[in-house]
Symmetry: C2
């Protein structure tokens, strides 16, 4: 480090020397010579590794969500949550970590994939591995006998990630579960209904729901001569049929068995995107008195669904808006920052999604360009003429059509087919504290769709000024 500091000092001095010679307009040869010395010193110095050392990345198997990915995520969650609510579910949340012992003995061999927290004094903690065990802990802790709830949250597994196929170490699960003593198969049937409703609504293509009962599989294994001690192991081999070929799975089974079990080899798809089943014994493992609460539920593997939707959007080159801004407040001349701030503030207070550029004197062209890039449909323009006339100009970004107060003098409604996605409902009266008398406008998404011509799904209505 001391050597490096000395070298840095030399580079600095040599730099000053070069600058000095340039200022003194020394001969080109001399300057060239000293510059060459400087470059040599710099090469000797190299990059500062103590500053460069850290890698700029997210941990292995994890990712950030960009605004575009968040737009996809919110759309998918919206479909799922609407379905869960349609089925009368409540919602709960639990901490991201649990006492380590809460997770102990619940996941068999997979326990090695659990993330533990460092022992920094106090309790031993682990990140949740799924949402089912925390749910069972919640039921036992609160002595609940029945609940129908959903829970959407991230879970953590130190697995081998395959991120392009939507397999992460940090990933979302969307769980819906029904706990309680009910007449047989009614809650189970609802879980299947929910799974079908969600997969249909998401429009990600055809899907196949496989229904089974572990007891049938257990019976088959028993007949094939699988010893009890190997049941768990052979089940996880069967599980792999989704990801591996039958040949590979068969080889794995052959190690376990004299006579390999028979099974059909189903065509391979994108893999499973949802799963579920009964877990009647789990809550009892937490209850001090072993009190049982039978449960059935399902889990949607949304990460894989995110991947499918994202890939489709890329193929279609579909533009995804990442904000919901309805109008940009712009100025046509300089020195109108205060007026822009007043108008945008009035719009915000009226519940309108509005923005302005963070520049004192932005060019009109830059403001319009910003709208085009961000997909903002409307610009409200203040200029010197508008201030004089006491109006604002409203402009459609795509059609460039403009409206000023003059156009509204007749008092009649006027229809436009220019403002995608928004329905200007009415103008609110401006408070009158400003030097000019424009009015705040309210923009609402069209709901329900207007019964206009099929090509025209939105309309713009101006109420005349009072």
């Amino acid at each position: 480090m001391a050597e490096r500091a000395a070298l840095e000092e030399l580079v600095k001095l040599q730099g000053e020397r070069v600058r000095g010679l340039k200022q003194q307009k020394a001969s080109a040869e001399l300057i060239e010579e000293e510059v060459a010395k400087l470059l040599k010193l710099k090469a000797q110095l190299g990059p500062d590794e103590s500053k460069q050392k850290f890698v700029l990345k997210t941990p292995k198997g994890t990712r950030d969500y960009s605004p575009r990915q968040m737009a996809v995520r919110e759309k998918v969650f919206d479909v799922i949550i609407r379905c869960f609510k349609r089925h009368g579910a409540e919602v709960i949340d639990t901490p991201v970590f649990e006492l380590k012992e809460t997770l102990t003995g619940k996941y068999g061999e997979d326990s090695k994939l659990i993330y533990d927290l460092k022992d920094q004094g106090g309790e031993l903690l682990s990140l949740r591995y799924d949402l089912t065990v925390p749910f069972a802990r919640y039921l036992a802790m609160n002595k609940l006998n029945n609940i129908k709830r959903y829970h959407i949250a991230k879970v953590y597994r130190r697995d081998n990630p395959a991120m392009t196929r939507g397999r992460y170490r940090e990933f979302y699960q969307c769980d819906f579960d029904i706990a309680g003593n009910f007449d047989p198969m009614i809650p189970d049937a609802e879980c299947l209904k929910i799974m079908c409703e969600i997969l249909s609504s998401l429009q990600i293509g055809d899907f196949l729901v496989k229904v089974n009962d572990r007891r049938i599989l257990d019976g088959m294994f028993a007949i094939c001569g699988v010893p009890d001690s190997k049941f768990r192991t052979i089940c996880s081999s069967v599980d792999k049929l989704d990801k591996m070929s039958w040949e590979e799975v068969k080889n794995e089974m052959a190690v376990l068995l004299q006579t390999p079990a028979q099974a059909g080899e189903e065509p391979l798809g994108v893999g499973s995107v949802a799963a579920g089943g009964r877990y009647d014994g789990l809550v009892g493992m937490f209850d001090p008195k072993g009190r049982k609460v039978p449960c059935v539920g399902l889990s949607i593997g949304v990460e894989r669904i995110f991947s499918i939707v994202e890939q489709r959007l890329e193929v279609l080159e579909e533009k995804v808006r990442t904000t919901e801004t309805q109008v940009l407040v712009a100025s046509a001349q300089k020195k109108l920052l205060e007026e822009r701030l007043k108008l945008v503030s009035e719009l915000w207070d009226a519940g309108i999604k509005a923005e302005l550029l963070y520049k004192k004197n932005p060019k009109l062209l830059n403001q319009l360009q910003y709208c085009e890039e961000a997909g903002i449909p409307l610009v409200a323009i203040i200029g010197e003429q508008e201030l004089k006339d006491g109006v604002i100009k409203l402009r459609s970004v795509t059609s460039r059509e403009e409206v000023r107060e003059q156009d509204l003098k007749s008092g009649q409604n006027r229809d436009f087919n220019i403002y995608d996605g928004y329905f200007i409902d009415y103008w609110q009266k401006w408070s009158g504290t400003t030097p000019f008398s424009y009015k705040a406008l309210e923009l609402n998404p069209v709901s329900p769709p207007l019964e206009a011509a099929p090509t025209r799904t939105h309309r713009l209505v101006f109420a005349a000024f009072t």
Copy 2:
């Protein structure tokens, strides 16, 4: 353990002996004598500590969210997200943990509060301590020069929890930040506007916004003779004025200084619920070339807000619905499970939030009671008479008013003021595959509010059957 097993065996044998004597109707004295021996053995045995050992709890400083708490949380988030979107913000998300070195050197003394993950091979990880450092890492990693984004997520601090006052080790932060080179103070002003809009919309009472510039404080300290090396320490003393009295803070400062600094003692409120400021140097700490991206932002302390709202709801004894179910599908007689399933399924497919009881033959009274407890406003009742007549009966849970097909024969719309919160828009035609001909109904929240009499904010419209 071997001793315990022997004792357990003795208890078991003695128990069998007592049962045998009872079966043989032995004399009361003999039975009493043997029961006394049994009790003594059981007392010797004591509780099985190996089975009882684990404690049913969430980790220190964390909590579950019950459905009721989630209802509060969703309402608060809704206000905040609507405001962030109104201001044109995009949204991002980052992993719950970061590389440990990403957090190193960013939090000064508070670094000791960071949760580290256990070294299980691979990267060294820590749970995020706030959303600002991951945001700066995101900007540097993606070489972004400007973005306006919000981020709502849990952060983790191994602090001393004070859960009744909303201080947790796992807690939500709601951050809004503007990154980029802009004209001075315009983004800063928007952050203040956002803070005021959110705190006003939440209706949690009056609030005071304190604006300052650290450079002013630094100047004051310099004049008071605080050495540069003590700046950080004395700043964190000043920070404590929110929680501690001036006397206590003064004593803390006196240890640092000869002449204690002067400061007013402000009246104590519920403490700070939001904070923000500039951090122009942070992104540069991540950028390999030290490229700077000035940033300004704010963070809403929602946990304290949740506490305030929850306490107020408790005081007001306000009923909070934890589901959005609009109608319960019920039956008046036995053996109608299939018909109930068909109707509820039709309702779900029509987008109506509906439930049924998971019993083959539930009593009508129990079904109505369920509606009252869950706050479900409507029951659709199928009975033998209804099946014969080919209709369903729709009943308001609170007013007990009922409507059958007969009432609708006239073909006229009919207004009711009975169904709180919902607007029955129209009946959908039933597919006709069932033995009876009831129709699915669509329930919509009223939007926009009807221009009816002030006492009547909702209305029920029946279209006549075709």
